[in-house]
Amino acid sequence: MNKLEALFIWIALYAYLPGFALLLAARVFQRRWEKAGYGIIAVAFLAHTLSGAVRWVVSGHPPVQGNYENALLGAWFLILVYLVVGWRFPYLRPAGILVAPLATLILGMGLKGETAIAPLDPPYQSNWLWVHVGFAWLAFSSFFLAACLGAVYLWRQWRSASAAEPAQDAPVALNAGVPERESVFAADLARTEEIMLGLIIFGFVSQGFMIATGAIWAASLWGSYWSWDPIETWSLVCWLVYGLVLHLRFTFGWRGSRLAVLAVVAVLTVVISFWGLGIGQGVHTPLLGF
């Protein structure tokens, strides 16, 4: 690892910590520290971006090869989606209490492995790779953030037993908008649910593109667009599971806490798809060492 790259990544890692601490303290002590926490995470993200950029320049390729580079890019996308959602809907910024440690954990797992810069191996020399990996991380980050919002939703509902689920086709009220400065814990649960659903939809579409672009890449790398190796299988399983979640929501009307539970449980398929199968170790590798 280049010295400059190492410097930036450690700045990012150390900055995610106070960002998380401020967001948590804002909840625990009921102080207005959320903006500062969000700002620190944004600064950490800048350092994270610079670290990735230095690695890209030095290696001559985007960081997509090996465990460390996958962790670097994965955590980057996760924080990016969080920052975009937090910027658009400020009352969702406390979700950083879950997102920042998760990104730190992903980076930590990456740093445990080989971090040396290596030129791109022949299988990775495909323009489809960037598209495939980009869509993969957009999908995974959206699913992770949806799961975080699902957890927040459930926690809020547990705290406030009086919160009622919105009924389908309920007449829309004049005061249906959410006050911008309100925290997620006091904001309309229905709005949180909608953003969670929006993230699931965004992730589902992105993963559809990820699977299709992966199939195009596979056709030129392995000769066939689908080989049923464990990663492909789990990507499909993950997509089908989220498809099932969307069907349960739109066809069978599962809403509120049931949808939040689904968002939290379904993210396990992402965890297994990525960390359970060790994508970073090779193009695709078998599960459980088999």
Partner: protein, 455 residues
Amino acid sequence: MMKKVINQLSSRRTAILLLFILTILFVAGSFLPQVSFLPASRQEEIRSEHPLLYLLGSYLSPARLSGSVLFLILSFLLFLSLLFCTLQRWGKEGERRGRVPFSWRGKWRPGVEEEVRRFCRRWEKVRDGEGKFLARRGKWGRRGSLIFHGGMAVVIAGAFVGYLSGYKGGMVVTEGQTLPVTPENFVMKYGSPLIGGPDDIPVIRVERVTVVKYDEKHVRQYRVEVTVLDREGRERQRDVVEVNRPLLVAGHRLVLEDYGVAPYLVIRDKDSGRVLGEAYYNLRVLRKPWQKEDPVDYVELPGGGRLQFRFFPDFERRGDKIGSRSWEIKNPVLWVTAGDSNALLFPGEEKAVGPYLVRFGDLRRWAFFRVTWNPGEKIAWFGFVLTLMGLTLRFFDPEMWLLFAIREEGEEKVWYLGGRASYFPQSFAGRLGELARRLDAEAQPVMEGSNKRDE
């Protein structure tokens, strides 16, 4: 009876149930040994250590399951289900389900109707009268849903066509060798066409296999120069095949998957001088520099004998140890073993090894190509495009309804406004609420039921 079956197949519950069963099967199968992707040695290891797991993996690992009758039946049912679901709903995508309730009311003033019409100026007016209209958007969203499901049915249809009339295999071609791309020349073969087959069989000759490097340690690319010939031996094209750059010829896709060395060996019986083998022997194991583990290649000879080979591309001796300095073929040496007897052979040398005389001639390289002939692939790609297009339309043009009416209530003239969104009702409510505020709506929202006569 037929109607009942079609109704059952076109229900979303059936589609979801089938998807659920397939998901469960694939989840379970992915934890079993992936027999199709393991090298023979690892397969053997698992077979002896975990015979039950190996047996289950042989039938239920996703790659094996996908070729089973069970999978074919389930995916065929899914195909029918998707097809019927799509066909049954085609043309009905604009139908309204349920009521659009009124939510706001306010005193009429000039310009109210015009402002609401401006709000939904690009929306389709389903019913339009003076002082009353019902508008909607999201027609493409509902069509997108049908295109998406239809696209998935096309993908499955493409996979079926590929399964029934395509084949996959692998062939090894040594430098200078010319081979027709037919399943007879495959060293491994998956499936054979049940219907049809390729009309045009290309013939390929491998001219040269090279390894391009970044530096001592890192490979940049594996490159194979290939000449494609027709059946009469006339040259059709010259091309370079690399990893990620397949050769596409006459509907066949040849992907470079592996390479190795092939020493030219003449093996004779030491006593009788009878030639037992004379060919380029494709060695699978290219020894890494100072490799600790000890994989070997071997050849079975007539009469039950066996010769083992260890190939050192850049031979080096350190005391009593032998090894390879690098991957480069700079100083090739072949270590041949027969029982307790062994010999080191340099190119051009002939030595006695046990009961055999072995001569090491020149050295060439071989390339392993994975060959695919899949007439269903284009159908599947078309299905992929439809699926993604449908998916994008589905979620980027969500369905929304808006109902507006002006009524006389006693002396007063009032307006009513309502809306419904299937995907994001709260966001839509926010937008509609802003509009209502601009129209000076009453502070309290209207309760349901007040609009029944307008429906």
